[in-house]
């Protein structure tokens, strides 16, 4: 039976398990939208393509499945770019579909033509221009395989309109071969595993550093097993938060610029760090030459390019994390480590004295109150800025997917659309997004999408009338010469939300109980504007060019 390219596309997407596409149609993607009429795949119409990409990203982070977004050619495709880059930096599995002008018009500066493959080369794992309907099936299958295998990431498929409209015999499907890597696999993995175990067993002050890769390889349980067996304290990067949840005092928090002081100090003191699925971003290490000066560093990662990129690993293992942990745990001996654990406890108590700043002040208390009021199974999504740091430090991520944040790219405007994607992905979970007035305005149009589909997303907008984190930097590092950071208080955010058809209320951060109650008990979406003093910052913080133990607002010496 003859099928069009678009029909084969949608059928293959179904076979890959796709149930949702976030998108925005245009002239060159019409054959696909036309075929969606006869497909069980649900298409969510966003109000800007950037939101489609963030929503697909949120969907993927909440489920571990590949998120799918779609835009038309030209501006539709370029609007996706920020969302693709966000997914790329945080290794989110995503397939991006873009409409394209017909093949005979390619390269002619046709209406709404843009070289989206060229534009996205550095921010995609791979990309395809499909030139024959017979190639659609194998291309899509390969794209999904690439998006979710190894270190996951976004893959773009550019789909010219005539290829989508053209018919072909399904029996004549052309197979696009996947190039085969030579020299695949590391023969020495067994030796390296043994070396890691030997170091771990010998070390007096070991720490495990958990990166986002642990969640991506669904190795959280295996890691919890290793931590328990070896009696090993752990820290995480911001992307690794929530990978292992324990109340036994082994969780020291996350490291880096805005991280927990305890985590930063213990890493600095450690003599062995087992790094799992982390890439030592500059936000995690602060200045590299002073990062963990006493420690032997072992690094396990699926991506060879992550190893030794920033920090030289003394032992490295290129391997799927789950596989590595399954083999490593039996080799690791149980140790009492009483001296090390006592020292950590002492440090924890010493740092615990001044809790007011460390617990993110009234904003932190507010976030904890929201978590208490929301159902147990709730996912928190952050935007970027002070709201992000307050949330990642105050929201207790009890499951690996319990908190979602754009760590690598730091994309303002991520929160609101990502929250839509999360809610659509896991409708039985509570979903709350914490955003600031800055990031909220960047994708404010998505209130219309949330309202249209009546998605019960709880939206918290911290409003300090400023770009708070930039204000903090100007205050601390630029002699308090404030410039270009004031957003003002002219906009009635509650009225705006209501105008979009969303219930809303406004409270101050110190006096927010009734507002939280109203938000959490409301049916459907609800926006809570939370007024915050612009002088409320995040402390402690590592200034640029300093090491992880030189935190402003931290303990001295």
């Amino acid at each position: 039976m003859e099928k069009t390219g678009a029909e084969i596309l949608l059928q293959t997407l179904r076979e890959e398990g796709v149930d949702v596409i976030f998108g925005y149609p245009g002239a060159n993607s019409l054959p696909i939208h036309d075929s969606l009429n006869n497909s069980p795949i649900r298409h969510y119409l966003v109000r800007h393509e950037q939101a489609a990409a963030h929503a697909a990203d949120g969907y993927a982070r909440a489920t571990g499945k590949v998120g799918v977004c779609m835009g038309t050619s030209g501006p539709g495709a370029t609007n996706l770019v920020t969302g693709i880059a966000t997914a790329y930096m945080d290794s989110t599995p995503m397939v991006v579909l873009t409409g394209q002008v017909t093949t005979e018009l390619l390269g002619s500066d046709a209406f709404q033509e843009t070289d989206i493959i060229g534009i996205t080369l550095p921010i995609t794992k791979h990309s395809y221009l499909v030139s024959d309907p017979g190639e659609v099936e194998s291309t899509v299958k390969q794209a999904f395989e690439i998006a979710r295998s190894g270190r996951p990431g976004p893959v773009l498929i550019d789909l010219p309109r005539n290829v989508m409209a053209a018919k072909c015999e399904q029996s004549g499907v052309k197979n696009i071969a996947m190039p085969k890597k030579r020299h695949a696999g590391n023969k020495k993995n067994g030796e390296e595993l043994q070396r890691i175990a030997t170091y771990m067993n010998r070390s007096e002050r070991p720490v495990i550093l958990i990166g986002g890769g642990v969640k991506l390889s669904q190795a959280c349980e295996e890691l919890a097993g290793l931590i328990e067996k070896g009696n090993i304290p752990f820290v995480s990067t911001m992307m690794g938060i929530g990978s292992v949840y324990t109340l036994n005092g082994f969780n020291l928090g996350f490291i880096g610029t805005h991280g927990n002081e305890l985590a930063n100090r213990i890493v600095h003191d450690s003599d062995f760090i087992l790094t799992i699925g982390a890439r030592f971003s500059d936000r995690s290490t602060a200045i590299v030459k002073e990062f963990a000066p006493l420690a032997t560093i072992a690094q396990v990662d699926i991506d060879p390019s992550s190893i030794g990129k920033v920090i030289t690993a003394d032992i490295s293992l290129v391997c799927d994390i789950r596989e590595a942990l399954t083999k490593l745990t039996p080799l690791v001996e149980r140790k009492e480590r009483s001296g090390w654990l006592k020292r950590i406890e002492k440090e924890r108590n010493a740092l615990g004295k001044d809790r007011s700043m460390k617990e993110c002040g009234p904003a932190g208390a507010f976030i904890r109150d929201v978590q208490t009021a929301m159902p147990e199974k709730t996912i928190a999504i952050t935007d970027v800025g002070l709201n992000q740091i307050w949330t990642v430090r105050s929201w207790e991520a009890k499951t690996p997917r319990g908190m979602i944040t754009p760590g690598g790219l730091g994309t303002m405007g991520f929160g609101l659309p990502a929250a839509m994607g999360v809610k659509i992905a896991v409708p039985d979970h509570g979903v709350v997004v914490f955003t600031g007035d800055g990031g909220f305005f960047m994708n404010i149009q998505e209130l219309a999408t949330i309202s249209y589909y009546n998605l019960p997303v709880k939206i918290v907008v911290f409003n300090n009338g400023h770009l708070g984190m930039i204000r903090q930097m100007q205050d601390l590092f630029y002699g308090a010469r404030f410039t270009d950071i004031e957003l003002g208080d002219k906009v009635d955010i509650v009225a705006v939300a209501r105008g979009f058809g969303i219930q809303a209320d406004k409270v101050s951060v110190e006096n927010s109980g009734a507002g939280i109650e109203k938000m959490c008990s409301a049916d459907g979406p609800f926006l809570l504007e939370v007024v915050v003093d612009p002088d409320t910052y995040v402390f402690p913080i590592i200034p640029p060019g300093m090491s992880n133990i030189d935190m402003i607002g931290g303990r001295q010496g």
């Binding site: 550095p122 890597k181 991506d303």
Partner: protein
């Protein structure tokens, strides 16, 4: 760290757009490509890229890892002088007068060169050899007035591939 020429051989799928992905990696890491040679291998679906970059020793590790992330890259190897044969071919166009003509024809025999076109006022000479040999010929011919030079860039093959 020592700056020197590093030769890298990259096997890639012979498809549109692959070269720009590969060269994009060099550019993003801040390396200039001094010479580049691309052509189909014995299997038509695979192309061999041979490139030269002036770089420190950490370049190889970095560029290898980044190139290996590309789906269309199948293999990346450094070709080390002494362990690989390296050749380059160039075509040299020279404006002639009668006096030069006889001298060029006479002296060209000293080198491993070939005159592949000779007109009354212009000749094209083909030179193939190691980088040094090729440079020697260019330097010798320079006083005769070189009009244009086209170089293939260096090609290299390992003497014996240990992994095969």
């Amino acid at each position: 760290m020592e700056m020197r020429e590093r030769i890298i051989a990259i096997l890639v799928s012979n498809k549109p757009g692959v070269l720009s992905r590969v060269t994009g990696v060099f550019g993003r890491l801040g390396y200039n490509i001094e010479s580049l040679c691309v052509a189909e291998t014995i299997s038509p679906e695979v192309s061999r890229i041979t490139s030269i970059t002036n770089a420190n020793s950490d370049f190889i590790e970095k560029v290898k890892k980044q190139l290996n992330r590309l789906v269309d890259v199948m293999d990346v190897t450094e070709l080390i002088p002494g362990q690989s044969a390296q050749r380059e071919m160039i075509l040299i166009g020279i404006d002639l007068d009668q006096k030069d003509r006889t001298e060029i024809v006479r002296s060209i025999g000293m080198f491993d060169c070939k005159i592949i076109s000779m007109r009354s006022n212009y000749c094209i000479i083909q030179v193939a050899g190691s980088r040094e040999e090729v440079e020697t010929v260019i330097n010798f011919l320079r006083p005769f007035g070189i009009d244009k030079v086209a170089r293939t860039g260096v090609l290299a093959l390992r003497y014996k591939d240990r992994s095969s």
